[in-house]
């Protein structure tokens, strides 16, 4: 916040000096960041904003000669609110880049506002299949993944571990459907049941009926996707139902550095030994990730989430583009070409972009462990996919 305020005062004084002409802001690169800052999911949004602020601090508040001006907006976890916030960033603030977006349905509702205005749209989390395929756009980039990829890696893990039958649970919205499609695409065994639970205005956090069905199905494992607060509820009920050991848990985007401290406080050992896949982990061994994780822990006193990792990358992706264009923010073609190279230092290590501007990257199997200080965190067990590309890239006519 301090740095943000300093930037603001800086910008205001600059405006006064030049006689308050709107042109005065041309010496800064404006980044709009849409995320969730209200509702219980605000905890994810705060983590992302913290990471963005850390990244801006690490680059000294500058991209080339230009100051970085960050404008954060709240989507309230609702597509319509997210679209309004995006419209405001594009029309009123006239930002150069719009980034952020936790939720696939919010991103899908907001994409047109940004792309029609001829600005860059960068997803720092959501990876709906539509944007990777038919709706792909030359000005859209992702610093995360396409929704299907992580569960596809999980399907592969299940095959390797010899799991023959699976029960699936996910929330009933765009990303939930992608996650289920992903695991179904690679898992070779039998799917004995599937529940798509409520995720509208009222988010289902009571899973007794579904867990009883899962247990009765006799499946050898359960695959889940529950990002944010419902994830903690699921794990808790999974443990209370005594399914630990009977119905091994395979999750994506459910166990993260937000939920782990809570699990630890409540001693929910149910997550220990459960498997998850991800493109990143706090212990990935590369200099950029070490700088990020240690900087984050030092500044905020906790482990960053994968949401934070992607947000941190977002700033470095933009920085590379701005610096390549030598601060000429009208040179969209040069900036786009630079971003396509993915030459910036990423916390996930080296990766490349596909024709749909989704990362082609590694996916790892992770598990929950206790670190040297006794804090629960995740660590990489092994690599599941190397340089994996999402299955929708072929539908993209970029």
């Amino acid at each position: 916040m301090r740095i943000f305020r300093k930037l603001l005062t800086g910008t205001i004084s600059a405006m006064v000096l030049v006689g308050f002409s709107p042109m005065a802001t041309a010496d800064s690169v404006k980044i709009g960041f849409v995320t969730t800052l209200t509702t219980p999911a605000a905890v994810i949004g705060n983590d992302m904003v913290d990471a963005v602020n850390l990244a801006i601090e690490h680059i000294g508040g500058k991209m080339g000669e230009l100051d970085v001006e960050l404008i954060v907006e709240d989507d309230g976890f609702k597509p319509d609110v997210g679209k309004q916030a995006t419209d405001k960033l594009v029309k009123q603030d006239d930002v150069h880049f719009v980034a952020g977006y936790i939720w696939s349905h919010v991103l899908l509702a907001s994409r047109k506002s940004v792309l029609d205005a001829g600005k860059f749209l960068i997803s720092s989390n959501a990876g709906p299949s539509q944007l990777a395929g038919k709706l792909c756009h030359e000005n859209f980039f992702s610093t995360s993944w396409q929704n299907d990829q992580t569960p596809m890696a999980m399907g592969e893990v299940l095959n390797q571990q010899g799991v023959k039958s699976l029960y699936i649970m996910a929330p009933n919205y765009a990303a939930g459907k992608n996650m289920v499609a992903g695991v179904e695409r690679t898992f070779k065994g039998e799917i004995l049941g599937k529940d798509m639970t409520g995720w509208g205005k009222v988010k289902q956090v009571e899973f007794a009926a579904e867990l009883a069905k899962a247990k009765a199905s006799g499946a050898e494992g359960i695959f889940i996707f529950y990002p944010g607060p419902p994830g903690a509820a699921f794990i808790k009920q999974y443990q209370q139902a005594g399914l630990q050991g009977q119905l091994p848990l395979y999750s994506v985007f459910t166990v993260d550095s937000i939920s782990l401290p809570k699990f630890q406080a409540a001693n929910l050992t149910g997550v220990m030994g459960s498997s998850m896949t991800q493109f990143w982990a706090p212990d990935l061994d590369n200099p950029q990730n070490k700088k990020f994780v240690s900087g984050f822990k030092e500044k905020y006193g906790r482990y960053p989430t994968f949401y934070a990792a992607q947000s941190y990358d977002t700033i470095f992706l933009i920085k590379a583009a701005v610096e390549a264009a030598d601060g000429n923010l009208d040179d969209m073609d040069l900036m786009r070409a630079t971003m396509e190279e993915a030459a910036f230092p990423s916390v996930r290590g080296k990766f490349s972009y596909g024709n749909n501007h989704m990362p082609i990257q590694n996916f790892y199997l992770r598990e929950v462990v206790e670190d040297a200080d006794g804090v629960w965190t995740t660590k990489v067990v092994r690599t599941v996919y190397e340089n994996h590309q999402d299955p929708y890239a072929k539908d993209c006519k970029n």
Binding site: T38, P40, A42, N172, T197, A209, E210, A212, A232, Q240
Partner: protein, 307 residues
């Protein structure tokens, strides 16, 4: 056929129903007796959960924390009634809706300021955290505790409402408020007690669910809609109606989530059934409400002698 899964789902439905009853009983009394629409009833549910979470970490005992938290929510209820709500009894319903909606926003923001947006997982003592086995049935112990404590509270409420002088006044108030005050009963004090009691019940309901779902901001706003459906189906102002309607709705919701997809698969494609089942099972209780409103608008068990 193996009846175990069915029995488990039945108990799950019962447990959801009991929780709904605790929430709806206060709501129906406040609505029925005081003619006051309290949208912020769900806020007491949330406050109960947060009080209990903090107290559990402070005292180290969930049971002790739960008892103090219920008292705490009762006091919050008294404060809200005496400072805000008692000015609104004469106002029309729209004003009440506006003010209590404002209260929701205030409570949600206060909770975010005090506890942050993360939510808390309440640790349970190992005795409650395990499973309970009867014959070949395995069921989480804590969920049985919810059922038992809910039934005890229901029995207590029954005794209070049917066998005590206070209960007589509450019933009289539900039937004809004006007549009760004309007979010289201190209606203000009665209202205060009913409101705070309702708040405490909502708080109890919230703190009972919290160890299952974790606490979260706005957790009450989601379930308050169900509670309104319960009191409409049961008959506004009727504790008995709230009890039966809550059980019916708890069972319909759980059974819908459990069996609707298999049922739909009998006569449509698997793909369509998987898409339709979640949507339809979410609608079931509203369909029930619509039917009740059409056939029996006063609810299934309206209080006797309703105006």
């Amino acid at each position: 056929m193996d009846w175990n899964p069915f029995l488990i789902q039945f108990i799950n439905g019962l447990q959801l129903g009991i929780l709904l009853f605790l929430l709806a009983s206060g709501l129906t009394l406040i609505f029925g007796i005081m003619d006051f629409i309290n949208l912020a009833h769900g806020s007491f549910y949330m406050v109960g959960a947060y009080f209990c979470a903090t107290l559990t970490f402070l005292t180290g005992s969930f049971v002790l924390a739960a008892m103090i938290a219920v008292g705490g929510v009762f006091i919050v209820g008294v404060v809200v009634e005496t400072t805000i709500v008692n000015r609104l009894y004469r106002a029309d319903h729209l004003d009440q809706v506006l003010v209590t909606f404002g209260l929701i926003l205030i409570f949600d923001t206060l909770v975010q300021m005090i506890w942050g947006p993360e939510g808390m997982v309440i640790p349970l003592p190992p005795v409650l955290d395990g499973q309970f086995e009867v014959a070949s049935l395995v069921f989480p112990t804590y969920r049985l505790l919810i059922i038992v404590s809910g039934l005890l509270v229901a029995a207590g409420l029954y005794l209070l409402v049917m066998k005590t002088r206070l209960g007589m006044l509450i019933r009289a108030g539900a039937s004809n408020r004006v007549m009760v005050s004309a007979l010289g009963v201190n209606i203000n004090r009665l209202f205060l007690i009913v409101f705070a009691l309702g708040a405490a019940l909502a708080g109890l309901s919230g703190l009972l669910i919290a160890p299952i779902t974790e606490t979260s901001i706005g957790m009450g706003n989601a379930i308050i809609i169900l509670a309104f459906v319960v009191i409409i189906v049961g008959g506004i102002g009727s504790i008995k109606g709230a009890f039966y309607a809550a059980l019916i709705i708890g069972l319909i919701d759980t059974m819908g989530r459990s069996y609707l997809d298999s049922l739909l698969k009998l006569f449509m494609s698997v793909q369509n059934a998987e898409t339709a089942a979640p949507a339809l099972s979410a609608m079931l209780i509203y369909i029930l409400m619509a039917v009740v409103l059409a056939v029996r608008p006063q609810g299934l068990f309206p209080p006797t002698g309703t105006r």
